[in-house]
Every structure is written in C-alpha cells, then in structure tokens.
C-alpha cells in the first residue's frame, strides 16, 4: 500500500522518498542547530522541483519493493537548488531583520508528513505526527516557524492526532513586517496558495505585505477572488499528472490575462506553474 510505503521511507530517510539530506540542509551555514525556536523547511523548497519525478514513480510504487525505488537518490538541478537556497536565505535574513532568533536542525530536520495527509493516509499520518512531535519535544523545541503552506497545514493538523500537542506553529509570513518591492513599475498578479488562502487564514497577511511593499497588484473577481481563484494542480500530481498539468496551464492562462508577472507564495505552486509562465516566489520580488 502506498501509504505504508511512504511511511517506511519516512522512517528510513525522514523523507517520502530517498534523498540525500545534504540537499535539504545545504542552504544554511551559520545558524545554530539548537534552540527553542526553529526555522522549519521540511525540505519543501529544496525538493519542490522533484515532485514531477516523484509523481511519475507513484503509479508503480505499490508494485515495487520499498528499497528498489529508482535504485538511487534523485536530485534537483543545480539552478533549482540554487534558487531554493536563495529563497531560504532571504527568509532567514528577513526574520533576523525583524529580530527573530531561531535555530535550524540541518540534516536532522524531519519531513512534516504532508503528503500522507493529502493522499488520505490518515492513520499513517497520525502515527508519523506522533514520532515527529516526540522528536521535537526531545530536542526541547517549543516554537516552529514554517516557510511553506503544505508544511504549515500538516503541522497545524498534528493536534488532531497527538494528545496534548503543545508546540507553537507560526508562519514566517506572520513574523515579517515591512518589505520593499524590487520592481514597482510593472504590475503583478498573485496566485494564492489554496491552503494559506482558504484553510490557514493567511491570505490577508501576505497580501498586506505585498501591497505595502509598493508592488502593484491586479485583482479580478473571477480570477483572484477568495472563492474563485484556482489551485495550481500540484496536489493532484501523484494521482494524475496530466490533470495536474492541465490545471496548471489553465491557471497560468487565466492569470496571464491580468499580468504576465505571476507571484506565488508556495514552492509547490512555483514548481507546477513555472512550466507555463513567468512565475516568481513573492520573496524574490521583495527585499
């Protein structure tokens, strides 16, 4: 069963598939590895571009034995990895600029379990959540700063599965105050993250930040409204990669009617939409 297989990988690699953990931690050098507050990446930015490869493997996953997965570690391209590192470093800098101190777990950082949750493997997710929670507790961690919506969502759901869950989960978006747009001439359109926008109550948080940054945003009731904006198609990639692509294409076509400059707030949205248009993480257009 796929859920069991992913769970086994999580036990073995702390990730849903075999990966060299140095890829996840390579962006950080000078951060302390111990502290009550951590910056938590769940290796999402670093591996978002691999979701394509991963989803191609999924249909065969149940037929393969856990250890025969592709026979080797898979890696993002050099450009992709550099870009992810730049983004993570910028997030870290912004937090520091706002007076937030934090540690980072480097290669010990576990994955959040988001994929289990999103594929409906709730028993496995619950079990895994307990182990991650215990890991955090043993490290003396009290507060977790997330950087992407899928991780934030997964952690926010731990309390349904872990008794007396007592960690504070906060998005870096809530901690960062002023940012300045690097390009104030052109117009931009926001592709909202579904999870931030409609499940986690953060839509206004990043919109306010972007609006205040001096970047010009175009809105349209039928394209960027809270109840009308599309998803990027990424969550369905493991189930149906073609459909995922169709959604991404349709989404970029819609957004491009408003502006050719699309900004996203999620690494998975970036990975899925980039194929079809000029997409940037919001952090790449502010300083």
């Amino acid at each position: 069963m796929l859920g069991k297989l992913i769970y086994d990988y999580l036990q073995k690699y702390s990730f849903p598939y075999p990966i060299d953990k140095k890829i996840c931690s390579g962006w950080a050098k000078d951060l302390p590895s111990k502290g009550e507050t951590i910056l938590y990446t769940s290796c999402m930015y670093q591996t978002a571009s691999l979701s394509e490869v991963y989803s191609k493997f999924i249909p065969y996953a149940e037929k393969l034995s856990p250890l025969s997965f592709l026979g080797r570690f898979i890696k993002p391209s050099k450009d992709e990895i550099e870009r992810a590192y730049r983004i993570l470093n910028k997030i870290a800098q912004l937090l520091k600029r706002n007076g937030i101190n934090f540690a980072y777990l480097y290669e010990e950082e576990p994955y959040s379990g988001a994929i289990l949750l999103e594929l409906g493997y709730l028993d496995e997710f619950g079990q895994y959540a307990k182990s991650v929670y215990n890991f955090f507790k043993n490290k003396g961690i009290k507060r977790i700063i997330t950087v992407d919506p899928h991780t934030h969502n997964a952690l926010s759901r731990y309390n349904e599965f872990v008794e007396h869950f007592d960690l504070e989960i906060v998005s870096y978006l809530e901690l960062v105050k002023d940012v300045k747009g690097v390009n104030r001439e052109e117009t931009f359109v926001i592709h909202d993250s579904c999870l931030y926008s409609r499940f986690l109550n953060l839509r206004d948080v990043y919109r306010d930040l972007i609006n205040k940054s001096g970047i010009k945003i175009v809105e349209d009731e039928l394209i960027t409204g809270v109840d009308t904006s599309f998803c990027c198609g990424s969550p369905i990639k493991p189930i149906n990669p073609d459909l995922s692509d169709k959604i991404a294409k349709a989404r970029v076509e819609q957004l491009s009617k408003l502006s050719k400059n699309i900004i996203v707030v999620c690494p998975m949205c970036y990975a899925n939409l980039s194929k079809y248009g000029n997409v940037k993480d919001w952090i790449e257009v502010v300083e």
């Binding site: 859920g3 409906g120 709730l122 499940f199 039928l222 599309f230 369905i236 959604i247």
Partner: protein, 383 residues
Amino acid sequence: MSQDWEIAIQRTINNNVPRVHKILENHKYILDLAKKLREAKMRVLSDLETYVEQTLEAVKRTGGNAYFVNNAEEAKEIVGKIVGKGKIVVFGKSMVAYELGIRKYLQQLGNEVWETDLGEFLIQLADEPPSHIIAPAVHMTKERVAKLLKEKLGFDVSESSSHEELVQKVREFLRNKFLSANVGITGANAVAADVGSIVLVENEGNIRMSTVVPPVHIAIVGVEKIVPTLEDALIEALVQAAYAGLYPPTYINVTSGPSSTGDIEMKRVSPAHGPKEFHLILVDNGRLKASKDPILREALLCIRCGRCHLHCPIYRVLDGSWGDAPYSGPMGAMWSYIIYNDYKPALYCTHSGNCKEVCPMKINIPRVLEYIKYMGNKQRSDK
C-alpha cells in the same frame, strides 16, 4: 478540456458567479436563513429514522400515500405499480429518480416518458449523463443544443438561433406532453416532517405543471431532504435559489397531498382540479448509513445549489465528467461514495477549498473528501 466544454463552462461562470455574489450582498438575510437551515437539517440528520416515520405519518394525514424504500429495486417496484404501462409520464427534474434509474425503467415497461426540465430534456435527447446538479446540460453550448433539437426532433432551428428561440420550440413541444400526461414525477427540495408537505423551487414552470396537470403525482425524494417543519422547507427553497443564482425564484411550489377544496360548507374534499393521487417515496440508498457517520453526515446537508461546482478547479478542467451521475463536482465526489460506494472521485480533490468557501451549508467538503480518500485507501488495502 474539450473546446465545447471550455466555452460552455466559461460562459456559465461569467453569467452565474458575479450574480450569486450580488444576490448575497443585496439580501443579507439569506446568510441567516442558511445558518438556520443548517441547524434544522442537522437536527434531522442526527435522528433520521424518527423523522422518516414522522414524515410518512404526516403525508398519510394529508390523504397522500407515503413509502420508504431501501434501494433502487424497491423504488422501481412501487413506481412501476403506480404508473403501469402504456402511459405518458412527465418528469420535473429529480436527481434521485435519475440515481435510481426510474426514467429508463418506466420506458422499459412501455411508457412514453419525457423530462420537462429543459436541461434534463436535452440530456434525455442526447442520452448523456448530466454534468451539473442544477444545470444538467451545462456542458452544451447553445450551438450544440440547436443541433441536437434539429437532429432528434426535427425542430426548425439552426446554430444561429437565439437562446429564446430554442426555449420557445421546446416549450411548444412539451406543452402537449404536459396536457396529455397521466403521471407527473418530481423530486423535492425539501420535505416538511411536521405536515408532510413537499416544497419545490423552480423557474421554468415545468414543475408546477408536472405536479398539477396529470391526475397522479409521485415525488421521489432522498431522506436527507426532510426538515423539521414547513417553515424550514420554505427556507430551504429560498436558500437553494439564492445560492444557485436564481433569486428570487420564479416559483415555489408546496404540495400537501392530492388536490383538495374546502369550498362547499368549508369541508375539505379531495380531489379537486389537480391530481387525485399523491405519492411520496422516501429513498434511503445509503443515506441512513451515512447519517450515522459524523463526517459523512455533513454531506447530507447538501441542498443541491450547484455552487461548489463552478468554483472547483477539478470540475472545471475535467469536462463535467467528475463523479458518478447524476452527482458531479465536489458534492458529487462526496455523493458518489454515499450512494455508489465509489471513493475514486474523492481522490481527485486537490483541496483547493473554494467549495467550502461558497457552500451555503458550510460543508467542509475537502475534509469530507479527505475522509473518503482515507476510507478508500483502507478499502484497497483490505483487498
């Protein structure tokens, strides 16, 4: 995406979504009514068997016949007995009748059967499954409709005919059928447990005619449509119409038993001008079991406004074919599991969350679908 679908769905969204936004903004009381309705429906769903009993008794008090059926077979048997063969039957749209295969069954028995809701009529002509819960032919462009009417019924229309001309031709055709029909079959938007009335909301006028012109009226309704009182049933009609973007609705029909009059010495006598028989068939088909599950129960709150469809990226990209007919879209992914035990449509949910944002009943649809995914995963691993 087929090009036809892309055009049709885009036109539909442009016509409908801003209109619903405006309706809700201009008539704020609808938000309160929706909240009240959710509470009333929840009361029923927590004790569905009792409310079914209460409803059956109440219908009998009004001089109607009432039945409870477990599944399609039982429903067909009862409808078949009432209708017989060689009759003309007009259908005012009933999704539950579609679910149970009643139209085709009556045809097999040798009856002439016509859907009279325009969308459903087109679906019947094309022999295709409905693509939307309230606008079953939403996948057809105007041009395709003209072609269909010309090919199947020889209507004098062309691709350049206007929406109005197309509607007019169908009206002329169906008027005859209404007048000669022996039986009218409808669903119901709501059933009032206290008095046994059914409430139907519509715009075309076909439901009025299906319920009043033929001498026999049969309503086939899922048990989840029961609400505590007639007041709640009327509220359901208003809320459904508003969230469907058709507000005020052109007609709201209340039917309480066969037609009656109190005009001679104020004694209530039945029948009068309308049907002499009224039959209510309450259908289970998986609903009672779902009502016992605290998460699936939420899905039974659905009032079939069809709003979640137009806001869902998967529905929009998948050519309207997502879910098991007649249940399409996000609500259909939930209902495919409840009725047909099919968890696969739920796997397609990307948890975009637009559906939960717009649902008048505040159903957390992605959460229900997550649970169905979970149940499906378990089912697969048990094999």
